[in-house]
C-alpha cells in the first residue's frame, strides 16, 4: 500500500518536473549580451536610466519570443564609475559569462579604458558614452575595429549650436564650462570648431562640478559683452548657471546649453529662470514635439510610453543611448547569430537603423553612425521645450 503510494507520488513528481523543465525551455538556448553601466556613483544619472531601459527592452524582446527563438540574456554589471571595476567587469563578461557583445560603459573615461579589452578579446562593444575619441583611434585616424558607440558626439552638439548661432548672425560668444570630463571635452570641441564656424570666443570661464555659485564668472562675461553665451555642463551646476544668468539681468544675451540640459527636471529646478534657454536635443527627448511624419516618431513615442508606464518617472535621454546600443546588438544577433565577428561586421554595415537618438548609418570609417542632424535645436517655453528653426 505505502509502496504503491510512494510510486504514485514519485510518478506525479517526475511528470510535473518534466513539465517544469519544458516550461523553462520554451526558448531554444540563449544569447548572452553583457552590459556595464555606472548604476551607482558619480555617473548614476546616466547608468540608472540605462540599466532600467536595457532591462525593459530585453524583457520586451523575450516576451515577443526572443531572438530567432532564443532567449536574450542580459548580464548586467555596475562599474560604480570606477575605471578599474569597469575593466574587470568587461573582462568577466567576456571570459566568464562568454557574452557575444557588450553594451556600455556609461562614461567616456571608462569607455576609453576598456577599448583595449574589447580589442584584445575581439568582442564587439557598443559604448553609451559621448566622447568622439571612443570611436576614433588617433594613431590610425580610423575607428577601433571592435568598438562602436550610440550617443551623438559632443562635436555634433557644438556644430548644431554653432550652425544656429551663425544663422542668427552671431559670432562673438563667451563660453563657460564645468571642469569635469564632460565639460572639458565640450570646451575643447567648442574651441576646436570655432574657426570653422567663424566664432570669436571672447571669454572662456570655468567652474567646479560642486560649486555653489557662478555669479563671479558670469559677471566677468557680462563685462565683456558677448552676443551669446554657451554653457557646457551636467548636473546641478547647469541650473545654477541659468539662475545666475537670469539674476544678473543677462537675459538679453541668449544662453545656449549643451545637450546635457536634456531633462525637464532642469527646467523645473531653474524655477522660471530657464525661459528662453536654447539647447540641442536628440529625438528621444522631444518625442511629443516631433512632427508625425518624422522617421523617429513611432520609435521614440513607443519608448516614452513603455518607460514612463513601467518605471513611473520622467524619461531621461541617457536611457535612449542604452536602447539604441542594445537594439543595434540585437539586430546584429538576429542576422548573424552567436558569432562575434559576424555581429561586428553586421553592425559596421548597418544602414538606416531608426533609434532613439537619430537614424544610424554605420560604415568602416564611422562607428557612431550619426550626424549633427541627429540634434534638434529647442528653446525653453514655459515648462516645456519648443522646436526652433
Amino acid at each position: 500500500m505505502t509502496l504503491r503510494r510512494i510510486f504514485i507520488i514519485a510518478t506525479i513528481c517526475f511528470f510535473s518536473m518534466g513539465l517544469l523543465i519544458s516550461q523553462a525551455n520554451a526558448f531554444d538556448g540563449e544569447y548572452k549580451v553583457g552590459a556595464v553601466f555606472s548604476v551607482t556613483g558619480r555617473g548614476s544619472f546616466l547608468g540608472d536610466p540605462e540599466k532600467k531601459t536595457a532591462r525593459m527592452l530585453a524583457e520586451k524582446i523575450n516576451n515577443a519570443g526572443g531572438i530567432n527563438g532564443k532567449k536574450l540574456e542580459l548580464v548586467l554589471y555596475d562599474d560604480e564609475g570606477d575605471a578599474t571595476k569597469c575593466n574587470l567587469a568587461v573582462k568577466k563578461l567576456i571570459t566568464r559569462h562568454k557574452v557575444c557583445a557588450v553594451i556600455g560603459p556609461s562614461l567616456s573615461g571608462l569607455s576609453l579604458a576598456v577599448i583595449p579589452v574589447a580589442e584584445k578579446y575581439k568582442t564587439p562593444l557598443v559604448s553609451c558614452a559621448a566622447s568622439y575619441k571612443i570611436v576614433h583611434n588617433k594613431k590610425t585616424g580610423k575607428p577601433y575595429k571592435w568598438v562602436f558607440k550610440s550617443p551623438q558626439s559632443d562635436s555634433m552638439a557644438v556644430k548644431a549650436i554653432y550652425t544656429h548661432l551663425k544663422n542668427r548672425g552671431i559670432n562673438k560668444i563667451a563660453i563657460i564650462s564645468v571642469t569635469s570630463g564632460f565639460g572639458a571635452s565640450g570646451r575643447s570641441e567648442l574651441i576646436r570648431l570655432a574657426t570653422e564656424y567663424n566664432m570669436n570666443i571672447i571669454a572662456d570661464e570655468k567652474y567646479g562640478p560642486k560649486d555653489t555659485d557662478m555669479t563671479a564668472q558670469l559677471t566677468k562675461i557680462k563685462g565683456k559683452a558677448p552676443a551669446a553665451i554657451v554653457n557646457w555642463s551636467i548636473g546641478p551646476t547647469q541650473v545654477t548657471v541659468t539662475r545666475n544668468w537670469r539674476d544678473l539681468g543677462m537675459a538679453g544675451i541668449p544662453l545656449y546649453q549643451s545637450h546635457g540640459f536634456g531633462s525637464r527636471k532642469n527646467i523645473k529646478l531653474a524655477a522660471g529662470a530657464a525661459e528662453g534657454v536654447l539647447c540641442p536635443l536628440g529625438g528621444c527627448n522631444i518625442a511629443e514635439l516631433l512632427p508625425a511624419d518624422h522617421p523617429q516618431k513611432s520609435a521614440t513615442m513607443d519608448y516614452l510610453k513603455d518607460y514612463t508606464a513601467k518605471y513611473n518617472e520622467p524619461l531621461s535621454s541617457f536611457g535612449g543611448h542604452a536602447w539604441d546600443a542594445l537594439q543595434i546588438v540585437v539586430n546584429a544577433l538576429t542576422a548573424a547569430g552567436n558569432d562575434k565577428a559576424g555581429i561586428r561586421d553586421y553592425i559596421e554595415n548597418t544602414k538606416g537603423f531608426v533609434g532613439q537618438h537619430g537614424v544610424f548609418n554605420f560604415s568602416p570609417d564611422d562607428h557612431n553612425g550619426l550626424t549633427k542632424g541627429a540634434f534638434h535645436m529647442v528653446i525653453v517655453k514655459g515648462d516645456n521645450w519648443a522646436l526652433v528653426d
Binding site: 567652474y207 555653489t212 546641478p236 539681468g249 538679453g252 529646478l269 524655477a271
Partner: protein
Amino acid sequence: MEKITLASQLLQYLITGLTVGSVYAMVAVGFNIIYNVTEIINFAQGEFVMLGGLIMVSLHVAVGLPIILAFPATIVLVTMIGILIDRLAIRPIRRPSVLTLIVATIAVSILIKGTASLIWGKDPFDLPAFSGRNPITFLGAVVQPQYFWVIGFLIITAVALSIFFNRTIIGKAMTACADNADAASLVGINVKQMILLSFALSAAIGAVAGIAITPISLMEYDRGAMLAVKGFGAVILGGLGSFPGAILGGLIMGSIESFGAGLIHSGYKDAFALIVLLIILFFKPSGLMGSIEISRIKRF
C-alpha cells in the same frame, strides 16, 4: 545690454565671495566646536549641511510645512542625527585614540551619504528662496535676497555662539573640556555629555548652513564632501580651534575664490584659495587666529 563697470564688477565679486564664504565659515565653526571638545576632525561635517538642505526640502516642499515650522524641525532632526552619531559611532569605541575616532567619522560620512542617496535619490533638489527671487540692484551689482539670509544666518550663529560660550554655564563647561578634559572632569563636568552636546551643536549649525545655501545652489546627496573640504580649509586658515578665525577664514576663502575667478582665471580658483592658505601657513603655521602654544598641547 549696457556694459558693466569695473567697480560694479568688483562689488559683485565681493558680495558673491562673502555669501559663499559665509557657508564655508558655518561649516568651519562646526568643525571647531567638535575639535575643541574632542580634538577630532569630524569628517561628517559636510553631511550635516547636505542633510539640512535635503530634510528642509522634504519638509517644506514635499510635506508642505511653512518655512517657519520646517526650519526648526529640520534643525531638530539634524541635531538628533548628530546626537546619534556620538552615541552610535563615537562613544562605543573602546580605548579611543584621536585617529580611530577620526576614521569613525569618515565611516559615518560614507554611511550618511549612502543613506541619503537611497532616501532622496541622486537628483538635485530645489528650495524656494525665503524672500522670493527678485534680485536687488545695488551700485550696478546684483544681490539675491537669499544672500542676505545666508550672511544673516552666519551673523546670528556667531553672536549666539559667543553668548553661549562666554555667558552660560554649559558653554563655559564646554570651553573647560576644550582646555583640559581631565581637569574638567575633576571639577565635576560630565565630559561625555559635553562631547554629545558638541556633536549636537555642530550638526545644528551645519543644518542652518544647508538650509541657507540650498535656494542658491540646489542640494544633492553628495555635495557634503566638497563643502567639508572648503570648510576645513577655512578652519586651517583661521587657526584650528578659533571661532573668530573660522569665520574670518571662511569669508577669506570665499572672497579669494570669487575674486580669483573674476579677475584672474576661473579654472584655477580653487588653487588660488589653496595658495593663499599655504602662504599664510608658511608665515604663521598656527593659522591667522590660532595660537602656537595651544596647538602644542593638543594631541592632534
